[in-house]
Amino acid sequence: MGDTSDFERGETTLRKAGEGPSTAEVKAWFVREVLPLEATLVQFLRKASRNASDLDDLRQEVYTRLYETAKKEIPEHTRPLLFRIARHLLIDRARRAQIVSIEAVENLENLNLAIDEPGPDRAVIAREELRRMQTALDQLPRRYRMAVVMRKVEGLTTREIALRLGIAEKTVEKHLTEGVRALANILYRERTAGGEP
């Protein structure tokens, strides 16, 4: 499946002679193609890796490797590449670990099928996006939600939110940073909001 395209890609890279896509292009591709796959990726990593505590580290490593590739050239088929990278990463880790987990290897084999299925429709209509946002906001811990809503809906600055709530600016900043992290996890990691049937 990937052989010929890999070969072609090698040629293109040669012709371009080091002149890769711009950062803006890589970013647009990352947001458009990679982030929507995060839920599936995390699910895959969770099943394949027995140690669930370093899921975020694994995900970050996959993104980093993916980025190194995309910096040379934006991949044409992101999904198979993403999971190829994830599989290699897990195999590398299993090799490095003292104990090779048979379970992990088995999972890697079994999961091949599921990974290559087409992903959920990328085009999200506005209303669905809204519902998703609402669900995401509803799931945020209350304090974070208040700060995020005040910033996002009312457009207040950190200082204004601090005054309104009678808490320190540092605390508001903390609520906002935790809020955006939680929001990203809800939006990208969980498929509950409209992703699965």
Binding site: R127, R145, M146, R164, L165, E173, E178, R181, L183, L187
Partner: protein, 320 residues
């Protein structure tokens, strides 16, 4: 740096950058340098930024006039589907109602901790409030004063005194007025305890209460208020400080009856300790324990104290 640490840093940058005020050229340079440092930084930042921008749809909707949306939602009119959705988001998101969106109407902020939880709140004036397990406070304030209502649980107050802006804790029918102080307020179902560690505070009772309506507390004082009656205990300041061991997740007992020890543990854990029989309930216990580790305590009770311990999924029954 772990992925979680990287993400936390990226989130800090993002929030600071997106704050309308105070982003300078040199901040941008420092951010750029950080993003250049490792692809992981860039990935984490892009990911959060994209999530944050998706939330911008909320802003776009709100510009259709917040109050108009709220009025529509209130009247249950039949506006466009999008507007209903927007109003639902706004109302759902704040949960408490419309007043928060109206300018100059500060709504109380509510802070809660779960069983076993702990939280430090820093107020704008530099005061600090630490919430112990299963606690709820509401904070409201204006130019004239600061007001905290302790709905339940326990909190340690370290208050920056400001004579022009009094600081009051409301707990049931009692008021505690700060006079420059560190104090602890614990509100249980049937009683209120106010312990003073440093400085001074005034405890005020309602007009129909028995005895004095107002008591000025000194360090080492512990006032126990039940319904209409208040008792004042004089204790060593160190004993008051001991009760703050929860700030480190510890419980400290000194000749404490096992029944009370169990009650303390039960504040912090879902798995409850039940002590059956007077002989066991009155047994005096001393020592330091991890508040969230009731299992360890049960083992000590069995091994060291020789009590009979029955460990069930959601409770531990101790008998003698």
């Amino acid at each position: 740096m772990s992925a979680a640490e990287t993400e936390a840093r990226a989130a800090e940058w993002l929030i600071r950058k997106r704050d309308a005020a105070g982003w300078r050229e040199e901040d941008q340079q420092t951010l750029d340098a950080w993003l250049d440092e490792a692809p992981a930084h860039l990935m984490a930042y892009w990911r959060l930024e994209s999530a944050w921008e998706r939330a911008d749809r909320l802003t776009a909707l709100s510009t259709q006039s917040k109050s108009a949306m709220l009025i529509r939602a209130g009247r249950r009119a039949a506006p466009m589907a999008m507007r209903v959705a927007a109003a639902a988001i706004v109302l759902g998101a704040i949960g408490v109602g419309a007043n928060m969106l109206m300018p100059r109407a500060p709504a109380p902020s509510i802070y809660k901790t779960a069983i076993g939880g702990r939280e430090v709140l820093s107020l704008a004036d530099g005061s600090k409030i630490e919430l112990n397990t299963d606690t709820e406070v509401r904070i409201a304030g204006d130019a004239k004063g600061r007001k905290i209502s302790l709905e339940r649980g326990e909190a340690f107050f370290q208050i920056k005194h400001d004579p022009s802006r009094e600081f009051v804790v409301l707990a049931g029918n009692r008021r505690i007025v700060d006079l420059g102080t560190k104090f602890i307020v614990r509100r249980d179902a049937d009683k209120l305890e106010v312990s003073l560690l440093e400085g001074r505070a005034r405890l005020e009772a309602p007009n129909d209460a028995d005895g004095p309506k107002s008591i000025e507390l000194e360090p080492g004082d512990m006032a126990v208020a039940k319904a209409n009656q208040t008792t004042l205990w004089k204790k060593p300041v160190a004993a008051i400080a001991d009760t703050l061991a929860w700030r480190k997740g510890l419980l400290v007992f000194d000749e404490t009856p096992l029944a009370d020890v169990a009650a303390e543990f039960n504040r912090y854990n879902r798995k409850k300790l039940i002590v059956v029989g007077d002989a066991a309930r009155k047994l005096a216990i001393g020592g330091h324990f991890q508040a969230d580790n009731v299992e360890t305590f049960a083992r000590v009770a069995q091994g060291t104290l020789g009590l009979h311990v029955e460990n069930k999924p959601d409770e531990i029954i101790i008998t003698r």
